[in-house]
Amino acid sequence: MFITTAKDQSLDSERPRFAHHGHLLLGTLCSRTVRLRRLTGGFTLIEAVVAVAIVVIGFAGAFATVVQAGRMVSGSEEESLVMSGLEQRIDQLRLLNWTALTDGTGIVNDVWTARPEAVAGITVSQETITISPCNVAGTQTLQATWDGNLAPTTSFTGGTALSGAGAVKIVATLTWTGRRSGRVRTESLVTVISRGGISKSVLP
């Protein structure tokens, strides 16, 4: 492990008088070892282990950063796909006639026939659509829910028929489980749909 240099050898030659004196000899050997350690350029095992540990910790930090970056990219991807899916839902709702939109039959029979195309590969646990009146007080609010693989359900709060409203506020919500994070996440999109389109609506 240790390399003897020319300087070390010259040190040896400086102490010939201690060579034949018992305990002094042991003291001399210890002294030589200490001096050799100080003067040679190698690493001890502990130094090497500590150095490797520092490098490993550095690599582990870099690895964790890359993994975290990948997780964030995945989360951002899911977010954009879910928003795309919700936009599709709103467009599908605009394709319904007013009766089918406001009594819930269109949501169950035409819109919720499958999960939005954009969220293929994402585990969707729930979709909800809430439709409330924009301009008529005391009108029903429709709450539609589609949980996992169960059949969609609709329910109304009390009040006059929602179809009597000239415009409705729609809140579409999608809940899913993150592919890499495993976290349950929810995103919503809100819009207003008026009967017959904006140009035909009869708003106060």
Partner: protein, 178 residues
């Protein structure tokens, strides 16, 4: 030491591939945003499979052609906000409302890039390195199914690819009932 070197190389490729995937994903979402905007405001939508017009609801076509009213008399570059623009005054003398000369916009993939062509001028929306593929299909509901796919070789691997396909339904405004 070899193990550390291999680990470092793998880490570098992972970082590069993560960045590349995020870039392609952004390209893909931009293409979809353009498609949604243009389809919604179009007055006519046609899907072509080569030179053949697709009229059924089962066949995918590789080109989408849109006729869009020219609402603005705007000669600026799309990404240059400096300059003047004016709205085209609607004309109903022919019995229907018209805004200037209608624009013809088409979407297709060319050499792996997602390309939008307006009035003969092609602009790349998704980088060619992404190896993009676009396909379109009529839905019975009146919506247009847009499929945007990128399939890019993964750095550091000869067999694996960065691949993502997104389908979404876009609806022209003239199909809306409400």
């Amino acid at each position: 030491m070899t193990a550390l070197l291999r680990f470092w190389i793998s880490l570098t490729y992972t970082g590069l591939n993560t960045t590349s995937y995020a870039t392609r994903q952004n390209d893909q979402m931009r293409v979809l945003d353009y498609l949604k905007r243009d389809i919604r405001r179009a007055s006519a939508v046609e899907i072509y499979n080569g030179a053949t017009l697709v009229t059924d609801t089962n066949t995918f076509g590789g080109e989408l052609r849109l006729t869009i009213p020219d609402y603005y008399s705007d000669s600026r570059e799309e990404d240059n906000a400096i300059g003047a623009k004016a709205t085209n005054v609607p004309d109903d003398s022919s019995g229907e409302v018209a805004y200037g000369t209608a624009l013809t916009v088409s979407y297709s993939a060319s050499g792996g890039a997602a390309v939008r062509t307006e009035g003969g001028t092609a602009r790349t929306l998704g980088n060619a390195a992404g190896v993009f593929a676009l396909s379109f299909k009529n839905e019975t509901s009146g919506a247009i199914r847009c499929r945007v796919l990128f399939d890019q070789p993964m750095g550091g691997s000869s067999t694996r690819k960065l691949r993502r396909q997104v389908d979404t339904l876009c609806v022209p405004r003239f199909e809306f009932r409400n």
